[in-house]
């Protein structure tokens, strides 16, 4: 494009007034100063302002919605944890670290057609194996339909919730292990089932930690 300095007819050649002469030095100075000054404004002043307003307004949330029993922190109501004992409702399988590692969030990233996802590998339980284990643990017949959240790993590996259908299948096991009636456990599950937020956002869910805490408190 050798003619790039000669604008085509009807364009810049007829323009008045001309643009002011650019002073590169002034622009360079503005670039350096703005990178520094605006970084201070948005990276220091903004967070300080946010902390000054947000922490007094929402002290519990800003500290991470931690759940304490006595003086000990037992977790966060937002972060899922691992449950293995029969008297507790169990969370979804997790790919965060070795399972529910709160410092290593993430999913499996296995493609849907990757054979490892269904069939597993030496150090990895596939969906088929997870489904068999789930049925065995809960005393279900081999052709009982299982809700998919019970045998898949979440994106964060820290999913605090399970679907109500998943909780319902675990009720008989939990009731037996605790010597409670199924109706009593069912009532607790119903009480701890959250519907879609504001009536239309997201899915119905049961927070596993909240439900298990409620079970413990019942004793």
């Amino acid at each position: 494009m050798s003619d790039s300095n000669e604008p085509a007819e009807g364009t810049a050649s007829r323009v008045f007034p001309k643009a002011p002469r650019a002073k590169l030095q002034a622009q360079l100075r503005a670039a350096i100063l703005s990178a520094l000054v605006l970084t201070l404004l948005t990276g220091c002043v903004f967070p300080l302002l946010l902390f000054a307003i947000g922490r007094p307004l929402f002290p519990r949330q800003s500290a991470g919605s931690l759940v304490t029993r006595g003086t000990a922190v037992i977790g966060s109501e937002l972060i899922g944890q691992q449950f293995t004992r029969p008297e507790y409702f169990q969370s979804r399988p997790s790919a965060a670290g070795n399972g529910y590692d709160g410092t290593a969030s993430g999913g499996t990233n296995l493609g849907p057609n990757n054979p490892k996802l269904r069939n597993g590998a030496a150090d990895f339980a596939g969906i088929q194996q997870l489904a068999e284990e789930y049925r065995k643990r809960n005393g279900l017949a081999p052709d009982t339909p299982i809700p998919i959240d019970a045998v898949t790993r979440s994106g964060s590996g820290l999913d605090p919730d399970i679907t109500p259908a998943n909780a319902v299948l675990q009720i008989p096991r939990v009731a037996r292990a605790r010597g409670l009636t199924e109706e009593a456990v069912q009532r607790l599950v119903a009480n701890h089932t959250k519907g879609p937020q504001f009536g239309f956002l997201g899915n119905p869910r049961v927070s596993v930690l909240e439900l298990n805490l409620a079970l413990d408190e019942r004793r």
């Binding site: 990178a35 970084t39 944890q81 849907p112 057609n113 979440s154 869910r205």
Partner: protein, 562 residues
């Protein structure tokens, strides 16, 4: 229920476009707003500090140079913050910072965050100090977003002005975008996030003693400071590795929905700003409707692919849509909505793992990035993305009827066509060449740590499409923290940010210098459903011509083979 949410979302985006778009026009044109008494003094103070004369306008060339210099300055500041982050005080403790910030990783991250890409080859919770997240990343989420919005304003002025040698002052647009748009909205939005449960602290990682007597360490941090502006500035890089899937980053369906609105409303409203400032409001609405139509096509395909029971699990008696890599609180509905919104807008703040999507589920996000983020698009960048696509349509329409094409009274002759053609060719050129190199090179194939075959190819194509579109989302099975990927994705990021913006601004300069032609009976109208259909068809046609072979090797063959 899913569809109710989709419809409410689109209704809100379109409904808010008019008031917000008119407000953005006031910001761009330096007219009075309700925030003036509070912000005018701060604005003048900043101009004095920076040595900027706000009345002084710039030609397109100078505007581009300032945009580049500012990007370079920010990249250097961020690079230094990242390199020296270990000397910063505060958490998290050194034992948790297991990913070393090598020079190539710091360079890639610096380039990525100063361009709204926020491609993350690292995991936040085991790489960065809290103060590096604040001073480094939060700041760049604001600045890169504001610089994009500034370029959007300048581009609109190019089409709005007649016989003008200038298209605005970059520093003024930058400062006003920050003060009048991003900072106030981010302050309110971040507080809403804290209310919903997003942490805002500098505490060490929490050691919890679980109900069963085990222990669990929970990452903490000033999460809320980043999580709203990452969406508002169409950046998308999260505080934690799992980004929007992490329950601390995105604790409720409402925080997710609010985040999606934060992403889409400003870019959609800019189409109204565009129509208002060019005095052709219907032209702005027409392009917005093209966006909505494309959005719906992608949403329907992705929803269909993800909501059905995964065919791969047939015979296992498992019921429900594809939940691998998805959170229960979002389900398929909010995951799909988020995949479409974030892939459309150069944001990439995914809340579910796209690598585990069905082949036809990952196709719409991938295609939207390859098409150049024309649907809503990046903050500011969306305006020129869709207008450039429309100009290709105008050019093709002009060829068909044998007239000199024009758009909004601006003639598209040789000088203009040159910029449009270069713009249209840059994305396929960069994405396809880099994908080709990565597939041939051993270092490129070494990234396929999780998946192989067509799915692995899709991961590589996705990585470069995402970098070029300044999107930043990944099919995270690709192991991208290597010198090869850190360097090559950085090239795509720079081309996508500065290459495309420079071409668009050069065109804006040409348009600003032109006179506006009067509307005659021979004018091809640019504000009718017919024109909308022409643009819609052109986008899909040009996209298919460029990328169908690559897509056929990736998601399409994976779909057909299984």
């Amino acid at each position: 229920m899913r569809w109710l949410e989709y419809i409410v979302f689109l209704a809100l985006v379109v409904g808010l476009a008019l008031p917000v778009g008119l407000y953005l026009a006031r910001v761009a044109q330096r007219r009075r707003t309700y925030l003036d008494p509070l912000l005018r003094p701060l604005e003048s103070l900043l101009y004095r500090l920076l040595g900027v004369r706000p009345e002084e306008e710039m030609s397109a060339g100078v505007y581009i140079v300032c945009f580049l210099l500012f990007g370079a300055g920010c990249t250097i500041v961020l690079f230094l913050v990242l390199i020296f982050q270990r000397v910063l005080p505060g958490g998290p403790a050194d034992v948790y910072l297991t990913t070393p910030l090598t020079l190539d990783l710091a360079g890639n991250t610096a380039v990525s965050f100063t361009t709204t890409t926020t491609w993350q080859a690292y995991a936040g919770e085991n790489t960065l100090r809290y103060l590096a997240q604040l001073i480094g990343l939060v700041a760049q989420n604001f600045l890169a977003g504001a610089a994009g919005l500034a370029v959007g304003f300048a581009f609109i002025r190019g089409l709005a002005r007649e016989r003008s040698a200038t298209i605005g002052n970059f520093w003024v647009d930058l400062v006003r975008s920050l003060l009048w748009v991003l900072l106030p909205l981010a302050l309110i939005g971040s507080l809403v996030l804290v209310w919903q449960g997003v942490p805002l602290n500098m505490a060490p990682y929490t050691l919890a003693h679980t109900l069963e007597g085990g222990t669990e360490t929970i990452a903490q941090g000033p999460v809320a400071a980043l999580e709203f502006i990452k969406n508002l500035g169409t950046n998308g890089g999260g505080f934690f590795n799992a980004n929007g899937a992490h329950p601390y980053a995105n604790p409720t369906p409402f925080t997710n929905f609010l985040g999606m609105l934060a992403i889409a409303v400003l870019p959609a409203s800019l189409m109204i700003t565009f129509g208002h400032m060019t005095h052709r409001p219907r032209a702005g609405w027409t392009l917005l409707m093209v966006m909505v139509a494309l959005f719906l096509v992608g949403l329907v395909v992705c929803d269909w692919a993800e909501a059905q029971a995964p065919p791969q699990l047939a015979g296992l008696h498992i019921i429900g849509g594809n939940m691998e890599g998805k959170e229960v609180r979002f389900g398929v509905g909010e995951s799909v909505l988020t995949a479409i919104v974030t892939s459309n807008t150069s944001t990439g703040s995914y809340n579910s793992m796209h690598d585990s999507y069905q082949p036809l589920g990952v196709l719409p996000p991938l295609v939207f990035m390859l098409l150049g983020e024309v649907v809503f698009g990046g903050l500011g960048a969306g305006v020129y993305s869709i207008v450039m696509a429309a100009l290709v349509g105008v050019f093709l329409g002009g060829l068909m009827v044998g007239r000199t094409p024009e758009y909004l009274g601006k003639k598209i002759s040789f000088a203009e066509t040159r910029w449009i053609a270069l713009y249209a060719l840059l994305t396929p050129l960069v994405v396809l060449v880099l994908t080709g190199i990565a597939v041939i090179a051993t270092a490129g194939r070494a990234g396929l740590a999780t998946n192989t075959g067509p799915h692995g190819f899709t991961e590589i194509l996705f990585a470069y499409a995402s970098s070029m579109a300044n999107n930043g989302q990944a099919m995270a099975g690709l192991n991208a923290n290597s010198v090869f990927y850190n360097m090559t994705t950085a090239i795509a990021i720079l081309a996508g940010r500065f290459g495309l913006a420079a071409l668009a601004l050069a065109l804006a300069g040409q348009f600003a210098a032109q006179r506006r032609l009067p509307i005659t009976s021979g004018t091809f109208p640019s504000d009718t459903p017919t024109f909308g259909a022409l643009v819609f068809g052109t986008i899909l046609l040009v996209g298919a011509l460029c990328f169908f072979p690559a897509l056929a090797l990736g998601p399409i063959v994976e779909f057909l083979r299984h």
